[in-house]
């Protein structure tokens, strides 16, 4: 494992990062977003979850640089009188948490299933790979929409809003495991043939040791490439689901539900309630995608592809 990490650090990876301005800028913006979002409780001027600080009289105040704007609400307020800046900071945090946790869950499921299928082979492998085919063909977003629609209809609105974050992570996490499973399985099949795996087996290492200590480190590059794209996709999915009212409730909004809550006011001129969180969302996804592009070019791993 250490050798793999050392090889990683010494590779062209860091070199090409230093040369790629787009990658560096994306990384800087992304890092800024993450730091700001996670220090939201410290830096946000208001607590958007605290109903007592919200005054309905403050609703729909435009951003401070507009004529009717007020200095105490830098990015204006939403229809309920919440400070947009604070709400966006908290919302970004929720979006990132859901994106990252959902991908961690995909990874966990995908890696486990991929390793087991590749290593064990036989019926287990056929079953999981067939399942992966089917699940991939059924569109993540569609599965998530249907699953959440059913949950929402089944639970009361209040119970649902408490569960929303976990439900979203579960649904998005569960829907996309095949991406990882296929890539891992392909790597396992390729690595299995190599001598060092035979050698490990000969000296009596058990299957789990071989898989986790010897095979997994060699799949780092494809995992990294998939993961960046997957985080971006997970954040988009979360936003889409919340926009449809199937995700995070407006009381503790994510970026998607914030956009949703502002959508009806766009026609009456209160564009900032939708526009500002949208820009944050797009910037967030764009930075991740640009980083993902660069990671893929820099590492250029073999990713499982259907032919």
């Amino acid at each position: 494992m250490n050798a793999a990490i050392r090889r990683f650090a010494q590779s062209n990876f860091m070199y090409s990062f230093g040369r790629d301005k787009v990658a560096m800028v994306s990384f800087a913006i992304l890092a800024a977003f993450v730091i700001l979002a996670f220090s939201a409780p410290l830096i946000a001027p208001y607590d958007p979850y605290d109903q007592t600080t919200i005054d309905i009289m403050d609703s729909e105040i435009p951003p401070a640089w507009q004529d009717e704007g007020e200095a105490r609400f830098l990015l204006g307020t939403d229809a309920q009188g919440r400070d947009m800046l604070s709400t966006i900071l908290y919302g970004t945090r929720i979006s990132i948490i859901i994106g990252v946790c959902a991908v961690l869950m995909q990874m966990f499921l995908g890696i486990t299933i991929g390793l087991v299928s590749g290593y064990v082979g036989g019926r287990i492998e056929s079953f999981f790979m067939r399942l992966a085919d089917i699940q991939l063909s059924l569109s993540t977003l569609m599965l998530a929409i249907v699953a959440l629609a059913i949950f929402q209809a089944a639970f009361s609105a209040e119970a649902y809003s408490d569960l929303a974050i976990i439900m979203l992570i579960m649904v998005i996490g569960f829907a996309e495991w095949p991406q990882y499973a296929r890539t891992i399985r392909a790597s396992v099949l390729a690595e299995k043939k190599k001598e060092y795996v035979d050698a490990a087996r000969v000296i009596g290492l058990g299957a789990p040791t071989i898989m986790f200590k010897h095979i997994l480190p060699n799949t780092l590059s494809p995992l990294l490439v998939i993961s960046t794209v997957q985080v971006a996709n997970a954040i988009i999915s979360e936003a889409a689901l919340s926009f449809l009212g199937l995700g995070i409730p407006v009381t503790k909004p994510s970026l998607g539900s914030l956009i949703n809550s502002g959508f009806e006011f766009i026609f009456s001129g209160s564009w900032w309630i939708t526009a500002i969180p949208s820009i944050v969302l797009i910037a967030l996804i764009l930075c991740i995608n640009l980083l993902g592009d660069w990671v893929r070019d820099a590492l250029n791993p073999k990713i499982y592809k259907e032919k």
């Binding site: 492998e125 056929s126 790979m129 067939r130 085919d133 089917i134 991939l136 063909s137 059924l138 569109s139 993540t140 977003l141 569609m142 929409i145 249907v146 629609a149 059913i150 929402q152 209809a153 089944a154 971006a232 988009i236 936003a239 889409a240 926009f243 449809l244 009212g245 199937l246 956009i259 959508f263 766009i266 026609f267 564009w271 939708t274 949208s278 969302l281 797009i282 996804i285 764009l286 995608n289 640009l290 592009d293 592809k305 259907e306 032919k307």
Partner: protein
């Protein structure tokens, strides 16, 4: 591969025993998936809301309710109930919408053409633009235009569909007033019994433009990138190099040797995307208040209109399964390089 059953000089596509076995497996799989989807639909029916309350209201005694449950077969064993559900479903009866008071399937059928219009429009945009642009970017990867396309495309895939929809409404409908902001318009033409389309009238077409563009806004850049990367890989292949070594004209090398190999995998990906496209229609229809299946489905969810929810899930599931199966069967048939044995492993 097994021995060819049938071969002709005109058509060298092979229908072999292997192919038939493969097709059989594929159909079996499709049936299995539909079975699972119907099971999901069925279990929703029983657990979402209370069917009796919808029929009787709240003021009925427990004994009466129990009697009615018996009468309706709600106390029958699971498989008896499921059998009844399937029997009805196959006959096109998926229950009556609580809200519309009409057969749920019929309600969906009414809304289907609107969604179909959107999907057709978006598909046309994607196919007509992504192929030439993707091929161009692959052939001239260093041209400024290709670089610009790649730059724009990464922005494109980073903007969620519903935001493209919202921004296009804000810009083209609210601010500039060039396009209608919602609905299908009044002026539709019936081109098939039951299928009224907006494609052939000025008003209908104007209403289609923004929704279709929004619907294609993520998939178009995705396909451009996919076609570009597939084709670039193939342009590096030995057989393309050999084609150059044969002294062929660039057009022939690019548009026959490389493009044909590029499009085969792209088509399979395209087949799988129909599911995502349908999911995006829900978003697009919500923003544009487009009277299609997706909009209907969200309304049904909000109203807990269980029969309608089930019908939508089953109809959409059927669309997925049928398109995927057909694409898979055709792809395997058309593509001479697919080794049928070893698929599904």
């Amino acid at each position: 591969m097994g021995p060819p059953l049938w071969r002709s000089h005109v058509c060298s596509r092979r229908i072999t025993i292997d192919y038939l076995v493969f097709a059989g497996q594929r159909l079996l799989q499709a049936t299995l998936v539909m079975f699972v989807i119907s099971l999901i639909g069925f279990s929703i029916q029983d657990n979402l809301g209370d069917p009796l309350r919808e029929l009787l209201g709240q003021s009925v005694s427990e004994a009466e309710r129990e009697a009615l449950r018996d009468e309706m077969g709600l106390n029958d064993p699971f498989f008896v109930q499921y059998g009844r559900f399937i029997t009805n479903a196959v006959q096109g009866d998926l229950g009556t919408s609580y809200f519309f008071k009409r057969p749920a399937l019929q309600v969906i059928a009414d809304k289907f053409p609107a969604t179909l219009d959107l999907v057709i429009g978006a598909t046309l945009i994607i196919v007509l633009i992504s192929v030439p642009v993707g091929v161009y970017c692959a052939i001239r990867p260093n041209a400024w235009l290709a670089r610009a396309v790649m730059g724009i495309s990464i922005v494109g895939i980073s903007i969620p569909v519903f935001l493209t929809a919202i921004f296009s409404i804000y810009l083209f409908a609210v601010t500039l007033g060039w396009m209608p902001s919602f609905g299908r318009g009044e002026d539709l033409v019936e081109i098939f019994p039951g299928w009224k389309t907006g494609f052939f009238t000025k008003d209908g077409f104007a209403h289609l433009v923004l929704p279709c563009v929004s619907l294609s806004s993520i998939m178009l850049p995705l396909f451009i990138r996919l076609i570009r990367s597939e084709m670039r890989e193939i342009l590096e292949s030995e057989y393309v190099r050999f084609a150059w070594a044969k002294g062929l004209a660039p057009k022939r090398v690019w548009f026959l040797h490389a493009l044909k190999n590029t499009m085969l995998p792209v088509v399979t990906v395209g087949g799988v995307q129909i599911g995502t496209m349908l999911a995006y229609t829900i978003l697009t229809e919500t923003v544009f208040q487009w009277p299609g299946m997706g909009f209907l489905f969200l309304e049904a969810v909000n109203r807990v209109d269980t029969p309608l929810i089930i019908s939508y899930i089953i109809v959409v599931g059927l669309i997925f399964v049928v398109t995927n199966t057909v694409v898979d069967l055709l792809y395997t048939w058309v593509n001479p390089t697919v080794k049928i044995t070893g698929r599904g492993r």
